[in-house]
């Protein structure tokens, strides 16, 4: 066994821990424990206090880890389980490093695991961090090749920095020209199952859970005037069907029969760009009302954007919206009936009764009806993030008993009332509001901005958007959710650190700056593939494989050339004219088939050469004598004589070659 130095062990541990850090947020506790215990064991083994574990111990550990993984990730077969398996493998490898080969396995797998961090985080900080991790791992790789007796700490790091430094230009070249291949397999991240993202169904209470998450939903930039907060309704889904408990989209067979979307607008469409976070769901967001489908998607009959495939990685798309519009001023009978659907005949009798009474009292005017509902909401209802659970007739329960709820409750109840009164209506889900970043001019919308509102239809005016939540809590619409909920203990209760984001002072400032930086990073770096083709076309004219290869090859050769020159050529050239002359003479001898062996002094070499070239024995003897005097006898005064001797030898060698040529 080749002993590893102490520094090498420490470097390995450092690399290991650096690899782990990005995964700490989701790793199960037992795995974190394992990742602390095994490196500690490694240290004890290395210091000689413990011996390497017996195979039976290792077997038990492996069984325990497999069991733990199976239990922890029962319902997941995705990325987290795989990465957890790799990390557990790394941790176990820690205690069975016998050979350098084992350390190599550890470090190579660490490199892979540090790459998997991008499956979970893609911020610019993550990029910098993973660069640092790479430096650490390369340093560890260096250190295991170090002589165990030379326990040098800094040398591996210096070498690693140099190596990574050399690799950076290549990395840039690869980034710019390497073709972006679509995901070969879809990576099921599945990490938000319980908490974030809109759902394709809405049962009151769902969205109050959603509100607690401060995860980023999307970011948007506008190419025209920025819409006012009250206008920032981001449409994502339309629920047309209610089964007494849950609002869902209209069944597919009904959707087929609905009329095509007919959007009439007088104003100029507002163009904008959205950078959308992966949600693993196919629906996107579009500012009310979308006048064109975002690229890669289409608009449903409810005029909501839907993608052909789930969003499994961050995407960006462009779209445009009409802020003043008439959506479907004419609605066929079939559509009207579809948007009047209610569960059964007898559900929620009190609400139906209320709707009928109001309809009579308002003289069949939908607008007055809605205002009436708003007045009621405003006076008698309260807005809360943690409403009581409802059972039985839920609309009745909400309207007459609990009287508190969140946007989903209000939107669902109002739609129910409108339908009961015979007004076609539907619930629209999406996001409302967002945080405007003044410096960088973009809007950040987080999962707590998720919202639900109502659209009802009037002949000639089309679908009219009303927000019952605005009636009970107008601040919800005019302010950002974070300001509004800041005092509610339920808000962001599962992410205590997030509250810092909303504090004032330098911390909040720093957060905003960082967010802006990340936004640019996402727009320009992560979504680079769009510009790649154009850039390559500008650079190459026509993009074909040969030119692409050349484009890659030239920088590669340049970098490798610089490395080779630094490693080989740059060092050997001596400044001393004497050494240079001597090197030239030796090179000449080499050309004649007589290279100097590295353990041969000039004296030994001269002696050997005088047997091959008896004609120049005298010159060679002089060379040997002068060289010895200068080099070894400490007589710098002989330098001139040595230069002359070298020149003489050089000439003698030339003339001997000329003679040979004449003879042949």
């Amino acid at each position: 066994m080749k002993q590893l130095s102490r520094a090498a062990v420490i470097w390995q541990l450092a690399a290991f821990f650096a690899t782990l850090v990005p995964h700490l947020s989701w790793m199960p506790f037992w795995l974190i424990g394992l990742c602390i215990i095994t490196p500690a064991t490694r240290l004890m083994i290395h210091s000689g206090r413990w011996s390497l574990p017996h195979w039976s111990v290792k077997l038990v550990l492996v069984m325990a880890v497999i069991g733990g993984l199976l239990l922890t990730f029962t319902r997941e077969t995705g990325v987290r389980a795989t990465v957890a398996l790799l990390i557990a493998g790394l941790a176990l490898k820690m205690i069975e490093i016998y050979h350098r080969r084992d350390a190599l396995v550890l470090l190579y797998v660490s490199l892979f695991v540090s790459g998997t961090a991008y499956l979970f985080h893609q911020s610019i900080l993550m990029a910098l961090y993973s660069l640092m991790t790479t430096v650490l791992i390369v340093a560890a790789l260096n250190s295991i090749y170090q002589d165990p007796l030379r326990n040098d700490w800094l040398r591996p790091l210096k070498r690693s920095l140099r190596l990574v430094g050399f690799a950076l230009p290549l990395m840039l070249v690869l980034f710019i020209i390497f073709p972006r291949i679509g995901p070969l397999w879809s990576v099921p991240l599945n990490q938000n199952a319980a908490r974030s993202g809109l759902s394709d169904r809405m049962a009151p209470g769902d969205i109050s859970q959603l509100t607690r998450s401060n995860e980023l939903a999307f970011r948007a930039t506008f190419e025209g005037p920025v819409p006012a907060p009250q206008q920032r309704y981001w449409r994502s889904m339309v629920y047309g069907h209610y089964d007494g408990r849950t609002w869902t989209r209209l069944p597919r067979r009904e959707q087929f029969r609905l009329a095509e979307v007919d959007l009439v607008g007088d104003s100029e469409p507002l163009a904008y760009e959205v950078v959308y976070e992966p949600s693993n769901n196919p629906w996107l967001v579009a500012l009310d009302q979308p006048s064109a489908a975002p690229s890669g998607s289409f608009l449903t009959k409810g005029n909501a954007p839907l993608r052909y495939r789930p969003v499994d990685r961050r995407i960006s798309y462009k779209s445009s919206a009409l802020l003043d519009y008439r959506l479907q001023p004419d609605l066929p009978e079939y559509d009207r009936q579809a948007y009047l659907q209610l569960p059964g005949e007898n559900s929620d009798p009190r609400s139906r009764e209320l709707a009928e009474r109001w309809w009579r009292e308002t003289g069949g005017d939908a607008d007055t009806f809605v205002r009436r509902a708003f007045t009621l909401f405003n006076r008698e209802f309260s807005y809360t993030l943690s409403p009581p659970a409802l059972s039985g007739y839920r609309v009745d329960g909400f309207l007459f008993d609990s009287r508190q709820g969140f946007c989903g409750h209000f939107a669902g109840a109002l739609t129910f009332l409108l339908r009961a009164a015979g007004v076609p209506s539907r619930v629209v889900a999406g996001y409302q509001g967002g945080q405007w970043n003044e410096d960088e001019a973009y809007l950040t919308v987080r999962q707590y901005d998720a919202h639900a509102w109502v659209e009802y239809w009037q002949q000639g005016r089309g679908w009219i958007r009303v927000d019952p939540t605005a009636a009970v809590a107008p601040e919800r619409v005019s302010q950002q959710a974070d300001r509004l909920f800041a005092d509610d203990p339920a808000f962001l209760s599962d992410t205590p650190m997030a509250r810092l984001r909303f504090g004032s002072g330098w911390m909040a400032d720093f957060q905003r700056q960082l967010d802006a930086l990340n936004f640019s990073w996402h727009r320009w770096v992560l979504n680079y593939q769009g510009q790649q083709m154009e850039l390559l076309k500008g650079l190459l004219g026509e993009v074909n494989l040969a030119r692409l290869g050349l484009l890659f090859f030239i920088p590669f050769v340049l970098v490798m050339g610089v490395v080779a020159w630094l490693q080989l050529g740059g060092r050997k050239r001596s400044r001393d004219p004497l050494e240079r002359a001597l090197a030239r003479l030796l090179a000449d001898f080499q050309k004649r088939g007589h290279p100097r062996a590295s353990n041969e002094t000039i004296q030994a070499f001269s002696q050997r050469m005088s047997t091959h070239f008896p004609a120049m024995a005298g010159e060679l003897r002089a060379l040997a004598k002068c060289d010895e005097a200068v080099r070894y006898a400490g007589r710098p005064d002989a330098r001139k004589a040595l230069l002359a001797a070298i020149a003489a030898c050089y000439r003698a060698l030339k003339s001997s070659r000329a003679k040979e040529k004449r003879l042949t």
Partner: protein, 310 residues
């Protein structure tokens, strides 16, 4: 003066060549070792002339010598000496052992136990011995020439690295060439010839020579070369550990003496190359165990890999 000293050494060398036929290189190395004030380890199979060389050296250098045949039941007192109670005056009196001499021939040193081996250690390093809590100084100069059988032989206790390190050189004699062997078989009794060897130098001459050798000029080029050699043993994968600083100093000391024996007042790389194998052969260990005498092959590799000119 210098010339007479050099001539004395040459005479000594020639005399030794008469009793140890065809071993000029080994004789010169042995002389170099002793003239560098170092202890010599001769390792070879029995009957190769180890003892003859040691005896001859003692004769020609005019040193008072003692021979100890090491056996496995030997005790430290057998070498150092023992305090004996004298009833006449009621006191203990120290009876000096064989170590009190100018040249101690320790025959087959690896046949004895480590305890006895280490008794020699103090003597070799400090020039003194301790018995019954009392230190006794050894005469000056004091040399140890130890012979040992290859460690692969039965009944041997290999010398530990710490003790090997105290020997300046380790040489082996090897079988004689066929024509030399024929001469040997035809020749007379070497034992009688040993006693007839003329004494070429005095102990005082030895001290003078040592003084002169230390004045041999070592240019920075030579020192650089020496350093590159040592560094290579430390960096290379071939070695499981490299040469210690003491090993480096030993190399320089021996090379200086070698240069002086050549009649030069400055070092050249060849001096180092000549003494390299005997000086560092027993101080390095190959990374992989490939037999007891991997040292020579390793040193050849070392010489081939390190450029003399830098």
């Amino acid at each position: 003066m210098t010339d007479s000293l050099l001539r004395g050494v040459e005479d000594a060398s020639r005399s030794l060549e008469k009793v140890l036929l065809g071993k000029q290189q080994q004789i010169r190395l042995a002389l170099t070792c002793l003239l560098s004030q170092g202890h010599l380890l001769i390792e070879d199979l029995p009957g190769m002339g180890k003892t003859t060389l040691a005896h001859g050296l003692a004769r020609v250098l005019g040193l008072e010598d003692q021979r100890v045949q090491f056996t496995s039941d030997m005790l430290p007192a057998d070498i150092i000496g023992v305090s004996v109670f004298e009833p006449a005056n009621g006191e203990f009196r120290f009876h000096a052992g064989p170590v009190f001499c100018q040249l101690l021939l320790a025959d087959e040193i690896n046949r004895t136990t480590p305890k006895t081996q280490s008794a020699l250690l103090e003597a070799m390093e400090e020039g003194q011995v301790t018995a019954d809590g009392h230190s006794y100084r050894l005469p000056k100069p004091f040399f140890v020439i130890a012979t040992q059988n290859p460690v692969t032989q039965f009944g041997t206790f290999p010398l530990p690295e710490s003790q090997l390190d105290r020997f300046l050189m380790r040489i082996s004699l090897g079988y004689p060439a066929p024509e030399v062997e024929r001469q040997l078989l035809l020749g007379g009794d070497t034992r009688a010839m040993l006693d007839d060897l003329p004494r070429s130098l005095t102990p005082n001459d030895l001290l003078d020579i040592q003084e002169r050798c230390s004045q041999v000029h070592a240019s920075s080029s030579v020192i650089d070369y020496l350093q590159r050699l040592i560094q290579f043993t430390r960096d290379s994968e071939l070695f499981s550990y490299g040469v210690s600083p003491r090993g480096g100093l030993a190399l320089l000391r021996s090379a200086r003496t070698w240069a002086w024996l050549d009649g030069r007042t400055h070092l050249v790389p060849e001096d180092i190359q000549q003494v390299l194998e005997p000086v560092i052969g027993h101080r390095i260990r190959p990374a992989e165990e490939v037999g007891s005498h991997a040292g020579a092959r390793l040193v050849n590799e070392l010489l081939a890999q390190v450029d003399v000119l830098g």
